[in-house]
Symmetry: C2
Subunit: 352 residues, 2 copies
DNA sequence: GTGAAAGCGCTAACAC
DNA sequence: GTGTTAGCGCTTTCAC
């Protein structure tokens, strides 16, 4: 058993109140008593129990973090930001991943509430229809969403503008000369943000007068990108010359799969991701992507939550800037190949 | 303020003890009283406070997790495993990353001990000389290391045999015909396991009669692989034809950098990583690597810790099997180039 | 500047 | 089966 405040008090010959005052720097303690108490603390290796303190102050200086998965580094980056900010302010993190399972969300939040976390930071499956968020609101437990982009107002969120970003992705590809665009995404049901990116992408493609991009929904968790793309790139000429992927991990897999299908990126097909994972800049070709400031998002969400906890600052929705990183995986559209030319009425039989 | 057990008791017209018994399924409660209590619980939205319970049971059903960084997915994978196992057993996780900063380790563990976590799972900078581990031992707080591979006995660890794995990496490359081996690693001071892998690799190279591999230590956190490799691959013929990297993230960066330097992987240079990140199988070329069962390591460490907490099972060191994944990034050594042949005594002037 | 004492929300004897 | 009660380790009035 660790030493208690009472042990310290009796060893130092003072009351527990004095020990408490010294430990928390609340109230004055005369120098010589302070020294005596300090000595007792060291002698006993006294470490104040947070659980005792929590009970009496009814706050825990802890935050709950709920994200879909740690396997995607984009969330890991955000958690890194959360971690930094929380540690700097002497808060502790309780953590769990839901594995994109909405039932899990409920159980986890229940557990965190039992532990009386002071607030939560979470990415949920569907922020506009989320029992979990409703619960938090009912109980008056402060929370901030990250990555999510709810349509409804009043759900404090730190995010980027996924729709605008999707549009910019389309614009960037069009600007490179691409007209046949495509998108590859994980299950939209598990990601409101992928949906938003798609909407923006389609809007952008239309605005540029491109034919409606093909949208390929794949199983992100158990991914076989080669299988998914083969039907598309089996025959030449009709498949998209540029693919926008709903996240970087997927984009990396798509680049790899295209390579294995014998296609060159970006000469044959351009690929653009979303997230801005650090590793993308190290690959060859470097990964073109929309960069979202993940670490900063985590940090900002945490800062906001902690400000709220130590004041009555209201929680807000903050949209952080994203940016386009035009890596080598997105290049100029190829000149139409002879095959394609042949298929095109204007060039019929030209090579015969 | 959330409802307390007392609120429930008085609403149901029973004592707190009865409520407690019902909530914890300890002791019998007559059916009709149970129903009344249950109704009161629901009416009030009662959620038992873990902090009250923690104080009275002096255990928290929470585990502390301390790892160097979440930015490297290998740790994220382990945390995923820890998370799964902990949740299955109804334990909660407190989490922090140290960013490879040993001073942080101390502060974090102090915080976790203040919260009275029941045990810890950690990867430390130097397990053989770790004030933090000494502290845990002194205080009798159970812990299990993961990834670390301490030389000293008595530090319970779940790991792979990094030395053997390093040796096998060398053997695999030699078997492909490589003789000029090299290794790229992050700072060894921050990673006992990278050191072990190197030792094994050097041993393997020597055993195969290869010249001592060149070992390149790079800044993993702020990596510029291209700069690091350029001096090596500026001139042809002398640089290693196969590079073993201390982890997959590094290997991916090395493959990318080689590509940007105009070298083909694996035709010009073979690359082998370490970790077995899932994304490695998606890349093109797929990443050759030594696979360690990260998720399983996390799970095993957690299982062991929890078993220990609910019995008096002693903590042990467990070495899990690794395996070689011979991806496309490691291929047969090129036939010696004319230049090299000329340099080799046996073939002197043969082509002249 | 210091101490006494009343809780914070729960569990676990122990008594009935 | 159920209730009473004494803590668990701390903070925080309120006296002095």
């Amino acid at each position: 058993m660790p030493a208690t405040i009472r042990d310290v008090a009796s060893l130092a010959g003072v009351s527990v109140a004095t020990v408490s005052r010294l430990v928390n720097r609340s109230g004055k303690v005369r120098d010589d008593t302070a020294a005596r108490v300090q000595a007792a603390i060291e002698a006993l290796g006294f470490r104040p129990s947070a659980v005792g303190r929590n009970l009496s102050t009814s706050q825990t200086r802890s935050l709950g973090v709920v994200i879909p998965s740690l396997t995607n580094p984009v969330f890991a980056d955000a958690v890194a930001g959360i971690n930094e900010e929380a540690r700097a302010r002497d808060y502790t993190l309780m953590f769990t991943a839901t594995n994109y399972d909405r039932a899990e969300e409920q159980g986890i939040v229940d557990a965190f509430l039992a532990y009386r976390v002071d607030g939560l930071i979470l990415t949920v499956a569907d922020p506009d229809n989320s029992p979990v968020l409703d619960l938090l609101e009912r109980e008056g437990v402060p929370y901030v969403l990250i990555y999510n982009q709810p349509n409804a107002r009043g759900r404090p969120t730190v995010t980027v503008d996924n729709v605008a970003a999707g549009r910019e992705a389309a614009e960037a590809l069009v600007k490179l000369g691409h007209r046949r665009l495509g998108m590859v995404a994980g299950r939209f049901s598990a990601s409101d943000r992928a949906l938003a990116r798609r909407d923006g992408f389609l809007t952008g493609a239309r605005a540029a007068g491109c034919p409606d991009p093909l949208v390929l929904e794949v199983d992100f968790v158990d991914l076989n990108a080669e299988e998914a793309l083969r039907p598309l790139y089996g025959r030449r000429g009709e498949a998209p010359s540029a693919l926008f992927c709903s996240n970087d991990l997927l984009a990396m897999a798509v680049v790899g799969a295209l390579g294995r299908l014998g296609l060159n990126v970006p000469d044959d097909v351009s690929v653009m991701g979303f997230d801005g994972l650090a590793i993308g800049t190290q690959l060859h070709p470097t990964l073109a992507t929309i960069v979202q400031p993940s670490r900063e998002m985590g940090r900002a969400a945490t800062a906001q939550l902690l400000d709220r906890l130590s004041g009555e600052v209201p929680l807000r929705t903050v949209t952080l800037p994203h940016s386009l990183r035009l890596g080598e995986s997105a290049g100029p559209a190829a000149k139409p190949s002879p095959t394609e030319l042949r298929d095109s009425p204007a060039f019929e039989n030209e090579e015969t």
